[in-house]
Symmetry: C2
Subunit: 121 residues, 2 copies
């Protein structure tokens, strides 16, 4: 328990379980790590990108194929591939006029599977 005199606290509760907070505080990973994790999941948090990734589970595809498969414009797909590329989730391979994208990560499939387990509960 505490007085709220400490610092510039946003929490205005008069009673906090200090022991619990202390314990949890000691176990929290560094701020930056949690931020990066959120950034990664943010990338997964869009159904267009999920679809792109799922398609790439099966086969590498060029931008044009993906656009056709998802019935979206090349531009929209290209923008999303840029996001996925920046997150190091896909990698491009140019072949003539086409650019083929493929998955660049082993863990994605496992992450998706665990996600599906939650959904299907």
């Amino acid at each position: 328990m505490r007085g709220k005199s400490d610092e510039n606290l946003r929490c205005d509760c008069s009673i906090v379980h200090q022991d619990i907070v202390k314990k949890v505080q000691g176990k929290m990973p560094p701020e930056e790590m949690l931020y990066d994790l959120a950034e990664l999941f943010k990338v997964f948090g869009d159904s267009t990108r999920i679809k792109i990734i799922w398609a790439l589970f099966e086969e590498e595809m060029c931008v044009c194929d993906i656009a056709y498969l998802l019935n979206m414009t090349q531009s929209a797909i290209s923008h999303q591939l840029r996001v996925l590329k920046q997150a190091r989730l896909v990698k491009p391979r140019r072949d003539g006029k086409n650019v083929y994208y493929s998955l660049d990560d082993q863990h994605i499939e496992e992450i998706f599977n665990q996600g599906l387990k939650h959904i299907n509960e």
Copy 2:
């Protein structure tokens, strides 16, 4: 290869690898499933919520404790807990004036661990 006469296609490419698209199309999960998956990851895609979840890995906590731990307002935390609750990721337990939240899912930790593997590559 195809003419682009088909339907109302958004993709204006003149050449699509139909064989690949067909194959991938057959493997795509139902639209709704992919949408739900994106919705789940969207919930993970915010560092405040990531922090809350990580804290709850360790111990159930009341709103007030979480707010104090993260140095945020009760209101902000309560709003986020609502999102987590709706996603069936946390569950509340009232004890007097306090409401204690705990994790309501076995898969979250595994999802996070796989996410971290990607980050630390």
